[in-house]
Symmetry: C2
Subunit: 155 residues, 2 copies
DNA sequence: GCCTATCCGATTGTGCACAATTCGGTAGTA
DNA sequence: TACTACCGAATTGTGCACAATCGGATAGGC
């Protein structure tokens, strides 16, 4: 923000929007707050949050086709293509056409990308600490969010 | 999406990310689902979700300086400036320097912008129906989200 | 072997989020 | 009055989300 108005929930509550907007609005605000925390926590790694998600999937699964990453992270090809190119330029991964199916592009972490896992080791703990939720609270919130998302998707 | 992979929560659950990521991930997915619904519901109005938020504040408050809109909606000037210009070009509002303080720009809905309220009349109800939550459930979820956002902001 | 439907990725264009900077305007102070 | 500190919008640049489209590749039916 260009000024100091990022102060947590100050002016908004005293002058609320119409009631129906609140839920989606709070959802966005919370996502934004998460974004701020991830930005700070990931600063050392040089990754953005979506890029961190990609690295986590590569650390967990090893090489993956773009299509699979898209499914796992629900990221569009229009998002993934330039994102993966930036990460390739940063030396974190390689992109190569599959020999078996030349439509498919296989993404593989480089040694540098794999090594970044050590730098990112504390990220989960720091995020968890910042959220300040118990495992039960987090799980309950997840349940609510998933039910809501399912309902929205189904509508 | 370019293909049919937007199917609600299919492949993700069978092959989960690390546990710590889930909460933020579900948050993003739910925000995305809300985005889809708002896009559909707002299609008739020609507004995007952030633009709808601006119109709602103008319908509620009448004319407002940009700074106030920024505070109410937590939108950055780098976001608001081009957004308001597009809305001005669409004939929904006017932007004029305040006579009292020429640093300030006052945003006013046009007649067309005010009339759009009728077109958007059913938006709250449709969103509520799509979410499928009782008032209690929605309120509880809001509480959780606000507590979480506050904790993240404070960290 | 050929044709067609389908799949996959990349690309293009628009809109939003955030950081950093710029610039004019205002107000407080010497 | 002149100087300075601060304020408010706008701009620039980067990155992500989504829609629409294209072109290459595969597989199935004939």
């Amino acid at each position: 923000m260009a000024d100091g108005s990022r102060t947590p929930h100050a002016e908004v509550e005293e002058d609320p929007l119409l009631l129906d907007l609140h839920l989606c609005f709070d959802l966005h605000n919370t996502a934004r707050a998460f974004g701020d925390v991830y930005r700070r926590v990931l600063r050392e790694t040089g990754l953005t949050y979506p890029q961190y998600l990609v690295m986590v999937t590569l650390w967990e699964h090893g090489e993956l086709p773009v299509k699979r990453i898209s499914q796992l992270l629900r990221l569009d090809s229009g998002t993934l293509s330039p994102l993966l190119k930036r990460m390739e330029a940063a030396g974190l991964l390689t992109r190569n056409r599959s020999l078996a199916d030349e439509r498919s592009v296989i993404v593989r972490p480089t040694a540098e990308g794999t090594a970044l896992r050590d730098t990112a080791r504390d990220v989960p703990r720091e995020i968890h600490a910042a959220a300040g939720l118990s495992a039960q609270e987090a799980s309950a919130l997840q349940q609510s969010l998933r039910r809501l998302a399912a309902s929205l998707d189904a509508s």
